[in-house]
């Protein structure tokens, strides 16, 4: 690896350039409301399926995965960048909280199914998963933009 020297003024200018580039990444990556809703729909579908017999579970899983592929392809087309949801940084606590919340809702859904809960129960839990996932997606985006300096 070659090395180079630099004056403090040049170093400051380089850091400012890095800051400006990060702000551009954040500006490019602003998600429209429907994008948060689409993510919520994927998570809601995954949780909904768990409240039903295996055939419905598999169908929900397939539809959710298909929707996820559509979202990823759309993101790559629209933004020209792919940002991993599990990336290090300010977004990771949000990702961890979202995962914990989803695991808890999965557990609740499975328990309700095993206990033979009312017909509306799986939809209520899936609705909660949708709302939690949308909120998580919005918070994740905010944390990312804040980290990028916007």
């Amino acid at each position: 690896m070659s090395r180079e020297t630099m004056s403090p003024a040049e170093a400051r200018a380089a850091l400012e350039s890095i800051g400006a580039t990060r702000a551009r990444i954040a500006a490019v990556g602003v998600c429209p409301p429907w994008r948060h809703a689409a993510f919520g729909a994927v998570m809601g579908l995954l949780i909904l399926g768990l409240g039903f017999p295996l055939g419905v579970q598999v169908a929900c899983l397939c539809v959710a995965m298909g929707l996820m592929v559509v979202i990823v392809v759309h993101d790559r087309q629209r933004y020209g960048m792919f940002i991993n949801g599990y990336r290090k940084g300010a977004t990771r606590p949000v990702t961890a909280l979202l995962l914990v919340a989803m695991m808890a809702l999965m557990f609740v859904q499975i328990r309700l199914r095993e206990q033979g809960a009312d017909d509306w129960a799986p939809f209520a839990v899936a609705g909660a998963a949708f709302l939690v996932a949308v909120a998580g997606s919005v918070l994740w985006s905010r944390a990312f933009r804040r980290e990028m300096g916007l």
Binding site: T5, M6, S17, I18, T21, I25, F82
Partner: protein, 103 residues
């Protein structure tokens, strides 16, 4: 001027911009990098080739909208080199500020 070791591969402004994008994303498409850096296709290609040669960047091709697109991503050494370069820049600025405060 305060002597400090920095990575020459990341010194050029356009390369620093490319590295900043790749450090904050998993991968970025060629046209997006061109838009952010504001350089021509050929200049961007040269910078990316230099970063690939240094082992910092990996290029892959994938179809999007029926066209082949080039995607760039950082390798592990590239990510580490950028982090070290950032620390070097921050240390340089901090030492200059300390020197001013001490006067």
């Amino acid at each position: 001027m305060i002597p400090i070791t920095l990575d020459a591969q990341l010194h050029a402004p356009a390369r620093l911009q490319i590295a900043t994008v790749l450090a904050n994303t998993q991968s970025a498409e060629f046209s997006r990098l061109r838009e952010i850096t504001g350089v021509s296709d050929s200049v961007l290609s040269k910078h990316l080739s230099a970063l690939v040669e240094a082992g910092y960047v990996r290029l892959t091709k994938s179809a999007l909208d029926g066209r082949q697109r080039t995607w760039a991503s950082f390798t592990r050494p590239g990510r580490k080199a950028f982090a070290a370069h950032m620390r070097g820049l921050q240390a340089l600025v901090a030492s200059a500020e300390q020197a001013i405060a001490a006067e």
